[in-house]
């Protein structure tokens, strides 16, 4: 290869949103980082001001606008872009990728194989569901794929508060590389080999986070939140099983851990969406005004259709769907959820 000296290797981060920037800064404590942004003006701005959003870039972070350069200079790349742009970005990157690349994505979103699935009738099966690792596998020759998941609110990471994350992959070397690059005094990194399960944890918890935000917006307290979180976890586990995933990942840092963090924090976009709904704003207005994507919305739409197809009940997901697309008011939605007859507490263990 062109770079013999491994200490000179760059690590790539694709996506300069708040989480992407936070990851770039964590990596920069260990190595040089190329941080890619889609828009030229964003790159120029970052280079000039050394700021990305509200985060200051460490000296080791070099903003770039060139995917080919990322692929050539970095053997390890962290793609962290919203799911709706993910496939497009990967397609642009794909021609430059080789089987030796390691891709560890940090996108907690979901796609469907067919981009127009909703218009085509919305009948989907578990095989049509794409987490980002599958998008990478489908669109590139890369096989050493991993994901980042866990309670990683970007702002807290940026403030260098203590936190932990999970790197999941089928390949031990991917987990080890992820741990080596990310781990520091204030950031613990756990490994997990059930990548699909870990990805689904991050994806499904966004739905519950929206509901938690709504509860908060309606002025309810901790009892209500605890109820939602525990019922939400059960729903996540059932949906996960429907997609062929074990219970275990849901009970760990990427599942329960992330769920608690996002369901309690105004820093979460999905939580914020729910809160504003409860405060009386219209769904479409909120969507227009959000700076960054709330992945949970798309996930609700996909999971609702999937559950329907498998004749599964997913009350929280179904109810949110009605709020988003069928004009159900958030107050009625809550009333409906509280009346739902679920008398078994736990039945999945």
């Amino acid at each position: 290869m062109n770079l013999k000296n491994t200490s000179e290797q760059y690590v790539g981060v694709i996506g300069s949103g708040s989480f992407g920037t936070a990851v770039a800064n964590i990596l920069a404590q260990k190595t040089k980082v190329l941080l890619y942004a889609r828009k030229m003006e964003v790159v120029e701005d970052m280079s000039k001001t050394r700021m990305s959003g509200k985060q200051r870039l460490l000296d080791n972070v070099i903003p770039v606008h060139d995917l080919e350069r990322i692929a050539h200079e970095c053997e390890i790349i962290f793609p962290i872009v919203p799911s709706e742009n993910f496939r497009g970005m990967i397609r642009q990157l794909s021609p430059f990728l080789k089987p030796y690349h390691i891709l560890i994505h940090g996108t907690k979103g979901l796609l469907v194989n067919d981009d127009n699935w909703f218009e085509n009738g919305g009948r989907i099966t578990a095989d049509d569901i794409c987490t980002m690792s599958r998008v990478i596998g489908d669109e590139t020759v890369v096989v050493r794929i991993g994901c980042l998941a866990g309670p990683n609110l970007a702002k807290e990471l940026a403030d260098n508060q203590p936190a932990a994350t999970v790197v999941a992959s089928h390949f031990d070397e991917v987990i080890q590389e992820g741990q080596r690059l990310l781990r520091n005094d204030r950031f613990q990194v756990y490994g997990n080999t059930e990548m699909y399960g870990i990805e689904l944890c991050g994806v499904l918890k966004n739905v519950i986070a929206i509901a938690a935000g709504a509860l908060h917006g309606l002025g309810f307290g901790e009892n209500a939140r605890a109820l939602l979180i525990s019922r939400g976890l059960v729903e996540m586990i059932y949906l996960g099983k429907m997609l062929g995933v074990n219970t275990d990942p849901f009970l760990g840092l990427a599942g329960l851990g992330d769920l608690v963090a996002t369901s309690s924090s105004p820093l979460s976009r999905n939580f914020t969406l729910g809160k504003r709904l409860a405060e009386g704003e219209r769904f479409l207005d909120i969507m227009d005004s959000l700076e960054e994507v709330a992945e949970g919305v798309n996930t609700v739409r996909i999971m609702k259709h999937l559950a329907e197809n498998y004749q599964m009940r997913a009350p929280i997901t179904e109810t949110l769907y009605k709020v988003f697309w069928d004009d159900l008011s958030i107050q009625d939605a809550l009333r409906f959820l509280m009346k739902s007859p679920f008398n078994v507490d736990i039945s999945f263990m």
């Binding site: 089987p99 590139t140 089928h170 070397e173």
Partner: protein, 589 residues
């Protein structure tokens, strides 16, 4: 079908097809050219990798011994764990000698393992260093013993003889039977290729065999498979492949002769100890590395259920990946450094062992709930009888050769270059590197092996060629099961066969839907199908009924006097039905 294979477009207009019933075909069905002749790709047998290996047998075995020994020492670094491993091996081998001896076992087997026992006792109270040395010496001897046992005994002269027996003998039989005059035994009108039809990417396989090492991975339904594939390989003009054959087959002298002459090495499924498995792995690994084309049955054993393999044994596949890494690492840029995977599916209308296999399967699956009759044993005479019936009565076998791939599931072109889905060139060496350097990472290679296994299973289903016989069995069994869906699975097998008669009209309607489903799958490239599946509906059903398990004493399917569909043996019917399992065709029943 773009690689210039002998495919002729099926002209549907001229074909005897009822267009109003048959769904539109969106791609051509490959037609079999039974007259095609393939010249040998290597001029003389002295160039065959397997011959070169046989000539160098001693060095080869030494290499296997040394490498296995080295690896085993790494795997058991402490003296206590090594001794424990040897103890375990010794105990199991002693038990095997006493409880499950075979004709092929060497006579000194028990003596050898008893001597291992006393030697293990003798080093018991020595110093750690002396114990380690003693244990290693014992280990070495066991490896030597295993390596010699595993090693094949390929003799080119035997190979030639076996080839003559198969091609000459069988085609004589075939001609005599077809033309029905004794004098016809010398005629050449029909060849084995009329009987055993080779289809698929044959030209690509021939090209790849010249530039790299082939690892052929066939489905496994019958003990006949290895002989059949030996014949296919020979017909295609390829040098013999080496492969691991179950040691039990060497108990039958007829098989033993064929096995040895086809380049088989011996695999003893009774021996499951680490030393044996490692030696076996190393054997296959070095053979592939040295450029010997190999045959792995990735399902491990014959499919008991009659289903296409859906889970594969990863051990041998893993050796191919390891061999590829070693080849790249040794910078062996020579012409044979790349390894190619070629899947192969054999389609039978009739599997000789079906009754005993399916009984075995049901017994294991159902445990005590299922009543078991005495197990049948497969003997040489039975096989001869089958061969005779096979050649004298009409029943064809088709062998579908899949598209060549690299070890990572990428298809390759005629130059052996790997291509991604968009047709871009992939350097497969990159799969083994970090920062440009080839690294040895066993966990990574295990994961590659799992990925490869998935791809092979997918290819099996894609090139599986549906016969009418499979489809009638599938349809009939599912309909019968539906008639009695209040019964649990095992009770169903115990009901009297006269309670599962299907009126012909009903069967015909359902079969039509199932066939349409198969055509949909075919159009999507998810399965292959035989041309006879496209003829008039009643005729397809007739072909299916006549052929399905045709030589069994109890026929899986028949028409009774009223023209309705009946079975004489639900187990056998279930077995043939299973061939179409996994395509979600049950939704059409």
């Amino acid at each position: 079908m773009t690689d210039g294979d002998y495919c002729i477009l099926l002209e549907l207009d001229n074909h005897k097809t009822n267009a109003s019933i048959l769904k539109e075909l969106k791609r051509p069905i490959q037609i079999i050219d039974t007259k095609k002749k393939y010249l040998p790709i290597l001029s003389g047998s002295e160039e065959w990798p397997v011959v070169q290996m046989a000539n160098d047998r001693k060095n080869f075995i030494d290499e296997v011994i040394n490498e296995s020994f080295k690896r085993l020492k790494e795997l058991r670094p402490g003296e206590n764990e090594l001794i424990e491993e040897l103890e375990k091996t010794r105990y199991r081998e002693n038990m095997r000698c006493k409880t499950n001896p075979w004709k092929v076992d060497p006579e000194d087997d028990l003596d050898f393992w008893n001597s291992v026992k006393s030697r293990l006792v003798a080093i018991e109270n020595r110093s750690p260093k002396a114990r380690r040395e003693g244990a290693e010496a014992i280990l070495f001897e066991i490896v030597v013993r295993y390596a010699n046992e595993i090693a094949g005994n390929f003799k080119p002269s035997h190979h030639k003889m076996a080839r003559v027996v198969v091609t000459f003998g069988f085609s004589r039989l075939l001609n005599a039977a077809k033309i029905k005059k004794f004098g016809a035994i010398l005629r050449k009108e029909y060849t084995l290729q009329d009987k055993i039809q080779i289809i698929g990417h044959t030209e690509l396989l021939r090209k790849l065999a010249k530039i790299g090492t082939i690892v052929m991975v066939p489905t496994h339904f019958s003990n006949l498979d290895s002989i059949l594939i030996g014949w296919v390989i020979n017909t295609l003009g390829l040098p013999p492949f080496i492969y691991g054959a179950g040691l039990n087959l060497f108990n039958m002298s007829l098989f033993a002769y064929f096995m040895n002459s086809l380049g088989a090495y011996k695999v003893d499924r009774r021996k499951k100890n680490l030393t044996y498995l490692q030696t076996l792995r190393t054997y296959s690994n070095i053979a592939v590395r040295n450029g010997s084309h190999s045959l792995f049955f990735p399902g491990g054993t014959r499919s008991r259920s009659g289903k296409l393999e859906s889970t594969l044994k990863l051990g041998l596949l893993g050796t191919a990946i390891e061999a590829q890494r070693v080849n790249y690492k040794m910078e062996a840029t020579g012409r044979r450094s790349k390894i190619f995977i070629v899947p192969l599916v054999i389609n039978y209308n009739f599997v000789l062992e079906a009754p005993s296999l399916i009984r075995n399967y049901l017994r294991i699956k159902g445990q005590e709930r299922y009543y078991l009759e005495k197990d049948q044993y497969d003997s040489s005479t039975k096989i001869m009888k089958f061969l005779f019936e096979f050649f004298t009565k009409g029943s064809n076998i088709s062998v579908s050769i899949g598209r060549g791939m690299d070890l990572f599931g990428n298809y390759v072109n005629e130059e052996g270059e790997s291509l991604d889905k968009k047709g871009n060139y992939i350097n497969t060496r990159d799969y083994f590197t970090n920062h440009g350097i080839i690294t040895e990472d066993h966990q990574r290679e295990e994961e590659y092996t799992r990925m490869l296994a998935k791809v092979i299973v997918r290819e099996f289903h894609m090139i599986n060629r549906v016969f009418a016989s499979h489809l009638v069995a599938f349809t009939a069994f599912r309909m019968m099961r539906k008639m009695h869906d209040q019964l649990d699975f095992y009770s169903f097998f115990r009901i009297p066969v006269k309670e599962v008669e299907i009126p012909y009209e009903e069967f015909r309607e359902t079969f039509d839907r199932v066939r349409d489903g198969v055509i949909d799958l075919f159009n999507e490239g998810k399965v292959d199908m035989a041309t006879h599946l496209t003829v008039d509906l009643d005729e397809v059903i007739d072909i299916g009924l006549k052929n399905v398990g045709m030589f069994h004493n109890y026929r899986p399917l028949l028409k009774n006097k009223q023209g309705n569909i009946i079975t004489q043996d639900l187990n056998n019917l279930y077995y043939y039905h299973n061939r179409m399992d996994g395509y979600e065709l049950e939704k059409y029943i």
